[in-house]
């Protein structure tokens, strides 16, 4: 009878050690590499205090195109963290007279990478607060896609999610069922259009 207690006790210890090794030890000894990584400001770590130039996109004076506007943002070595920094600035209210193509109140819920694709999860305000026009929807989508892909060469395409879910469109036009690549079709060419008041080469020190 006493021998059985020792056997039961030994088995329990072995089981506990095994569970600890499987769920705590191994992940510590062999940290996962190459898995999709979601980032947050808390986990972000700036490599230095230098700022880096990033092009963000706003609506032109005539409302018919996007214009690139250069901002200086905190530089980070991790593309996932850098992408979040850029997008949060793109979603923020721009200085006058710039107009944002993204509905006010839109928040970045998550940003993560898988291979060369970025997934941008936005709050529902991006659709609920939208004017509903197709050109405006193109501006909203490509301001986000271009802000990421134009500034981070390691990211090839962006898929937009709303409230954590895949959607067909934001407001009934632009197909969001797959990742979208950089598209400057709706971005004004500063050389070809000298009338723009907010050309790409303007800078704004944050």
């Amino acid at each position: 009878m006493k021998r059985d207690y020792w056997i039961y006790g030994g088995m329990g210890v072995v089981a506990l050690v095994g569970i600890w090794v499987l769920f705590v030890g191994l992940p510590r000894w062999y940290p996962s590499e190459g898995m999709p990584t979601e980032t947050s400001e808390a986990s972000g770590r700036a490599t230095d205090d230098e700022l880096v130039a990033a092009t963000l996109f706003y609506i032109s004076d005539d409302g018919m195109r996007l214009v690139g506007f250069e901002r200086r943002l905190v530089q980070h070595a991790d593309p996932a963290v850098q992408g979040r920094i850029i997008l949060e600035e793109q979603l923020a209210e721009p200085p006058a007279p710039l107009l944002s193509p993204i509905p006010p109140g839109t928040e970045l819920r998550a940003f993560y990478l898988s291979d060369q694709d970025a997934f941008v999860d936005l709050s529902a305000e991006v659709a609920l607060g939208h004017s509903g026009g197709s050109l405006e929807e193109l501006f909203t989508v490509y301001a986000i896609v271009n802000a990421v892909t134009a500034n981070i060469p390691a990211i090839n395409a962006v898929q937009i999610l709303v409230d954590g879910k895949e959607v067909d469109t934001l407001v009934g036009h632009v197909d969001l069922q797959h990742p979208l690549e950089l598209n400057m079709q709706w971005v004004a060419d500063p050389d070809a259009d000298a009338t723009q008041t907010s050309p790409v080469d303007q800078t704004d020190q944050l």
Binding site: G34, M35, G132, S134, L135
Partner: protein, 568 residues
């Protein structure tokens, strides 16, 4: 130690001194251990296809490995061919590489590398494993190229690494079948001298280059061709022919972007009732072509190669004639939005869903009364219809053209003008475009088989997008004569409602309802009639064009509209 404990548990079980519960515990631990071992092996690196380094002097393989789905190359493999020196002083988690006075610094698990002080982003961070460092293959083109004296380029699709002054044209090969005939289209970029010659049961296409960057699409063996592949170590591709092959003709045409398209039409062996003996083997002989030169006409091809068989070949239909006849019999009109989805809203309260329905009904009445064509409306009342359902309605009712009506909106009240959109193909990638032309051999009733194009539902528009571009151009031209157009009246866009339409399809944004003046126009009978007249005239023009011309096989490369919105 864990494994020993598990084995011990199982030994005890075998000796039947433990209860069944203890036996289950042992099995559970063994299973956990096996799962962990399997997961561990999956996380390891496995050899992958090597890259090929091409220099003016030679070609050599560059081994690669695959780790967690990423294709990596070891720094040690790059050192010799690229003259790299790995610094002796190694810091933990950091590797310094030099080439002359230029320095590359890698940091483990950091996506950026420093190249002579310049930060370069990689597709994934470098890995340090067993004393060696591994980098994603894009390191070659993005970082290594910056420290080389000679040009260095990575061609990831073909796995080529080009170092120095080497000529390696890209050749995108597409193989299409139509009836008993086949066509091999080779888009050669940049244009390069080439020779097409037949030798026994193979065609050899040799380019005047150092190597070949071949991208092969849609290759499925058929009665004429068994295989198409690159020739190892040579700037050539070979077409392995089957017994059913009779003759070929080759033509070249200049293409966009300094490319040249080499088109090789393959004809089957004609069935001759006047000759018992098979036709003689055509004499092998090279046929030289160049991108800029005049195309060699088909008449100089098969008829010259097989004397006496010209009548048989002439009886075969031309490839262009095998394209399905195009007739415009039914028009699908899609009134955008509806029901709870009101669309855009004007400053005076006009709703997009009401304007689109009113214009759709006006257009239907005029098409039916003036053209006698059948009209399909995706909605006839204030109801909500999903985007995919709209395309499905048009497809199921066999419409020949699709028009989706909308009004636009902008945060700038001054925005004004109509716009016409067709599907932007680039968003769906070259692979998706190819998917629209994938032939599948299916059996037919009574025996035999035929080739059917299998088109994924959500990509039905891909095979029509070139015609959609011309249809959109026609609509934009006609609207521009009747209503104000935006500065870019014709555009491409990845609009969801177009993707599933199995016919030429456009979205027409009739004006900006957010502009107070345009809101008044869009709700007026006069403006709506002008829009309807423009669309009606566009339908008539497009119908007359497509019904009067012989359409070529395959897509028409319409290209993208220029700044003025006009197609090339």
């Amino acid at each position: 130690m864990l494994l020993m404990a598990i084995l011990s548990a199982n030994t005890c079980q075998v000796s039947k001194t433990l209860s069944p519960i203890r036996g289950m515990t042992g099995r559970l631990l063994v299973a956990c251990c096996l799962v962990w071992l399997a997961a561990g092996s999956a996380r390891g690196q496995t050899p992958d296809d090597p890259l090929t380094l091409v220099t003016p002097q030679d070609r050599r393989p560059l081994p690669t490995v695959r780790f967690d789905g990423r294709r990596l190359v070891a720094i040690s493999e790059l050192a010799t061919p690229f003259g790299l020196t790995i610094a002796d002083v190694r810091q933990p988690g950091r590797l310094t590489i030099t080439r002359d006075d230029r320095i590359i610094v890698l940091t483990a698990n950091e996506g950026l590398v420093s190249v002579s002080g310049q930060l370069v982003a990689l597709a994934s961070p470098p890995l340090e494993r067993d004393g060696d460092w591994y980098v994603p293959i894009d390191f070659i083109g993005r970082a290594l190229a910056l420290v080389q004296d000679e040009p260095l380029e990575l061609r990831p699709r073909s796995g080529l690494v080009l170092l120095g002054d080497v000529r390696v044209p890209q050749v995108v090969a597409r193989y299409q079948r139509a009836g008993r005939q086949s066509r091999l289209r080779l888009m050669i970029t940049p244009q390069t001298e080439h020779v097409v010659e037949q030798s026994d049961n193979r065609l050899l296409v040799t380019l005047d280059a150092d190597a070949l960057d071949l991208v092969l699409r849609d290759m499925r063996p058929d009665a004429l061709v068994a295989d198409i592949r690159a020739v190892d170590g040579q700037p050539a591709l070979v077409v392995e022919l089957r017994d059913g092959f009779g003759s070929f003709s080759a033509t070249t045409e200049p293409a966009l972007g300094g490319a040249v398209e080499l088109v090789i039409d393959l004809q089957p062996r004609p069935v001759s009732t006047t000759r018992a003996a098979p036709p003689p083997t055509p004499p092998p002989g090279p046929r030289r072509g160049a991108g800029a030169g005049p195309p060699a006409g088909p008449g100089t091809g098969p008829t010259a190669l097989i004397p006496g068989e010209t009548v048989g070949d002439a009886m075969l239909p031309l490839l262009a004639e095998l394209a399905p006849p195009r007739r415009i019999r039914a028009i699908a009109i899609d009134a955008g939005h509806g029901g709870n989805d009101v669309g855009t809203r004007g400053p005076d309260g006009a709703l997009e869903k009401d304007v689109t329905l009113a214009v759709a009904q006006r257009l239907r009445n005029r098409i039916e009364s003036e053209l006698g064509l059948r009209v399909v409306l995706t909605r006839t009342s204030d109801t909500e219809v999903s985007l995919d359902e709209r395309a499905a309605i048009a497809n199921n009712d066999r419409a020949d053209l699709f028009i989706s009506l909308h009004t636009n909106a902008s945060v700038r009240e001054t925005a004004i003008g109509a716009e016409v959109f067709y599907l932007r193909l680039a968003e769906y990638g070259e692979e998706a475009r190819e998917a629209g032309f994938t032939g599948q051999l299916v059996p037919t009733v009574g025996g035999g088989s035929r080739v059917l194009d299998i088109v994924p539902w959500e990509m039905a528009q891909l095979r029509h997008v070139d015609h959609s571009a011309r249809w959109a151009q026609t609509v934009a031209d006609e609207l521009s004569q009747r209503v104000p157009m935006s500065p870019r009246g014709l555009q491409e866009a990845p609009f969801r409602v177009l993707v599933g339409a199995n016919m030429p399809a456009v979205v027409v944004e009739m004006g900006f309802i957010s502009n107070p003046d345009q809101e008044a126009q869009l709700t007026s009978t006069t403006f709506q009639s002008a829009i309807v007249s423009g669309l009606l005239r566009g339908i008539i023009r497009y119908r007359d064009e497509v019904e009067s011309e012989t359409l070529p096989l395959g897509p028409v490369d319409a290209g993208a509209p220029d700044a003025s919105g006009r197609l090339p």
